[in-house]
């Protein structure tokens, strides 16, 4: 049964107190480097009270909001990804003994019980996708599992959307539905708190809450409705996997050649991108070596390099790989699209490329305007093209 209570604003600090007493490190949203990020939260005073975010393609600014609320913003550049699939994870170390023999030792997974306040519906949807990838594949990942199981998640229902949000189109928001322990709906005078798990219920029971009123419930729902109404970006109708497969040679890909910087910002902020590179370092005396994995982007030519050949040597091919994977082949791999509609890739793209616009163009039949598909691009378009080889043609 759904348990909902009302936590008056002046008692909100007790939520942090109870989490601390339960042994959790607490992370919460706060302003750092002109953006809202998750960081260690010692007091509610660190929360971004009365601050909102303005987002647009290639644009993110914080400004004062007229509300006296803590969560009157949409999304920061981070989702939960840096907490579970960390940017760099040590995997194993090796030791070379004097007699030349080797010893390999697994690096133990690291995690401390951590409560995160301010998680959004899109972040939880992305977390569920990563759970599927890292925990339910052939070999579950112990590092991801340890970090994942250490989390206590306190979500916040969005009452406003950024210009770049489109979770309505992906079906992942704005209201939190799964994956959280507690969900908050922020009202002017406090929070409607809903428990989703047993331990969430226990925490809720430990707070001095009051009965939730019908007015408060309606206000919370009105907030979600407002967030939904504010969204205007949509995804093309019909099956995106089919349409993207059909668009593999679409001339519009070449249009990206003139805009995409292949910087990988989109893959860094994307809460579902999971590509990795494995790196090795040796100690100065050569006896120890450390093997770690770190985030990688499919926009890096090295991502597809094999013995002298870069398979996706041209920029449009790398953009095509990203977009086609995210919205197309992802469905066959994971049973759903890899996009949760958070809009971060639009906001944090330095040149403001908007995936929803690109998809719309790619789902239109090619017009007669001159253009080149990525695999028919002439040499001068791409610096890498003149050396282009078939994989294995070495």
């Amino acid at each position: 049964m759904k348990v909902q209570r009302f936590l008056p604003r002046d008692r909100f600090p007790s939520l942090l107190d109870r989490l601390s007493e339960a042994g959790y490190d607490i992370l919460g949203p706060q302003v750092r480097d002109h953006a809202i990020v998750f960081d260690t939260l010692a007091s509610v005073d660190q929360l971004p009270l009365g601050i909102t975010d303005e987002q647009a393609p290639g644009h993110y600014r914080l400004s004062a909001s007229s509300s006296g609320r803590y969560f009157d913003w949409a999304t920061g550049p981070q989702a939960l990804k840096p907490l579970t699939f960390v940017p760099r994870e040590p995997l194993w170390t090796s030791e070379t003994r004097d007699d030349g023999t080797l010893v390999f030792r697994e690096s133990p997974p690291e995690a401390r019980p951590t409560a995160v306040i301010g998680v959004r519906a899109c972040d939880l949807a992305a977390l569920a996708i990563h759970d599927r990838h890292f925990l339910h594949g052939a070999v579950p990942d112990p590092h991801y599992r340890a970090r994942r199981e250490s989390l206590f998640l306190i979500a916040v229902n969005c009452s406003r959307s950024a210009d770049t949000c489109f979770c309505i189109a992906t079906g992942d928001g704005p209201r939190v539905r799964y994956g959280h322990d507690l969900a908050l709906s922020e009202l002017d005078d406090g929070f409607v708190v809903e428990a989703h798990t047993g331990r969430g219920r226990d925490l809720l029971d430990s707070l001095a809450t009051t009965e939730v009123t019908l007015d408060q419930l309606q206000a919370a729902e009105a907030g979600s409705a407002q967030a939904a109404d504010q969204q205007h970006r949509r995804l093309p109708a019909g099956s995106l996997p089919d349409q993207l497969q059909a668009a593999v040679a679409h001339p519009h890909w070449q249009d990206l050649n003139d805009r995409c910087l292949t910087c990988g910002n989109c893959t860094s902020v994307c809460p579902t991108c999971f590509c990795q590179t494995h790196v090795d370092e040796r100690s100065l005396d050569g006896r120890e070596a450390h093997h770690a994995r770190q985030w990688e982007t499919c926009f890096n030519p090295d991502h597809s390099y094999i013995h002298g050949v870069t398979i996706r040597a041209e920029r449009p091919q790398r953009y095509r790989q990203w977009l086609t994977h995210k919205f197309g082949t992802w469905v066959e791999q994971f049973g759903r699209s890899g996009c949760v509609g958070c809009g971060r890739c639009i906001t944090w793209c330095p040149v403001g490329i908007d995936v929803t616009e690109e998809l719309a163009a790619l789902c239109q039949a090619p017009d007669t305007a001159p253009g080149q598909a990525p695999d028919t691009a002439p040499g001068p378009v791409s610096g890498a093209a003149p050396d282009r080889q078939e994989p294995g043609d070495d």
Binding site: L91, R145, C275, R293, D375
Partner: protein, 277 residues
């Protein structure tokens, strides 16, 4: 719970120089228990590791029934493979595997085999050829076409001669560039197709090598009505984890390390038609 990413120590028990830049290593896990329980299927690969330098996926060329050691044939391309090439008998390295889905040797039983390889593509296919010849009665006629870029790239010349001695085995060798001592053909592998009678209902086609070569052969096979489900390709992609996690080896929706490296053409047709996919 282990990550599945931890290498185990292995020892070089034999090494063989094949060409100036290619060599074979015979490896054995130093932990007898791991070696005893290690099993692999035809066409699978291992991750070979030199601490501090990294890991590289290398196909296994020895017979799956050989439980004593594991053979790999490697071309020196980058720093890791160059350093693997410096290993001597008794040296240690890291090994984990086996990974992937290999050649469907059992599915092909009772059919003729056409094995077309190019470049170092011969390494994964050699295991297949040796496998079939050791179990000769299970297969029909065997045609082996091997193309190399340059005459000096052909390794295992003696093996090709030995294969020819088997009944109903035809071997065709060609190089893009020959040399004075090259007694075989010069030109693309496709030149042999006219000489080969293929019964599309009773043949299995195995391809390994440059994708352009494989595409050309596929076109010819499709033209001859060989079903797409009976044409098999061994694919190569960048791989860091070999567990389907790192995302590097994706080919359309396939993770080559996990879903392949051997695929039927029926599975890959939509993704092979365009470069850079």
């Amino acid at each position: 719970m282990t990550s599945g990413l931890l290498p185990h120590e292995a020892e070089v028990v034999d090494r063989q120089d094949e060409t100036p830049d290619m060599f074979s290593l015979r490896l054995r896990f130093t932990d007898p228990e791991i070696q005893t329980t290690y099993r692999f299927a035809l066409g699978q690969f291992n991750m070979l590791c030199l601490p501090g330098l990294g890991e590289v996926p290398i196909s296994i060329v020895s017979d799956p029934d050989d439980r004593h050691a594991i053979d790999h044939t490697i071309r020196q391309v980058g720093s890791l493979t160059r350093n693997l090439g410096r290993l001597e008998v008794g040296d240690r390295l890291g090994l984990r595997g086996p990974y992937g889905r290999g050649w469907p040797a059992e599915t092909a039983e009772g059919t003729d085999l056409l094995i077309v390889t190019g470049g170092l593509g011969c390494a994964p296919s050699v295991s297949l050829i040796e496998y079939a010849l050791r179990r000769r009665s299970r297969y029909g006629r065997i045609h082996i076409i091997q193309g190399v870029k340059h005459a000096h790239d052909l390794i295992w010349r003696e093996r090709y001669s030995a294969w020819r001695q088997h009944p109903d085995v035809e071997v065709y060798l060609t190089a893009d560039t020959g040399d004075t001592f090259w007694p075989f053909h010069v030109g693309p592998v496709t030149q042999f197709f006219e000489r080969i009678a293929i019964d599309p209902a009773h043949c299995s086609v195995f391809l390994c090598g440059p994708e352009g070569m494989m595409r050309t052969v596929i076109q010819e096979m499709v033209r001859r009505d060989v079903p797409a489900g009976r044409i098999w390709l061994s694919m190569e992609r960048n791989m860091h984890c070999a567990l389907g996690s790192c995302g590097r080896c994706q080919l359309g929706p396939k993770f080559v390390c996990r879903d392949g490296p051997v695929f039927s053409y029926a599975e890959l047709a939509p993704y092979l038609a365009h470069k850079g996919v």
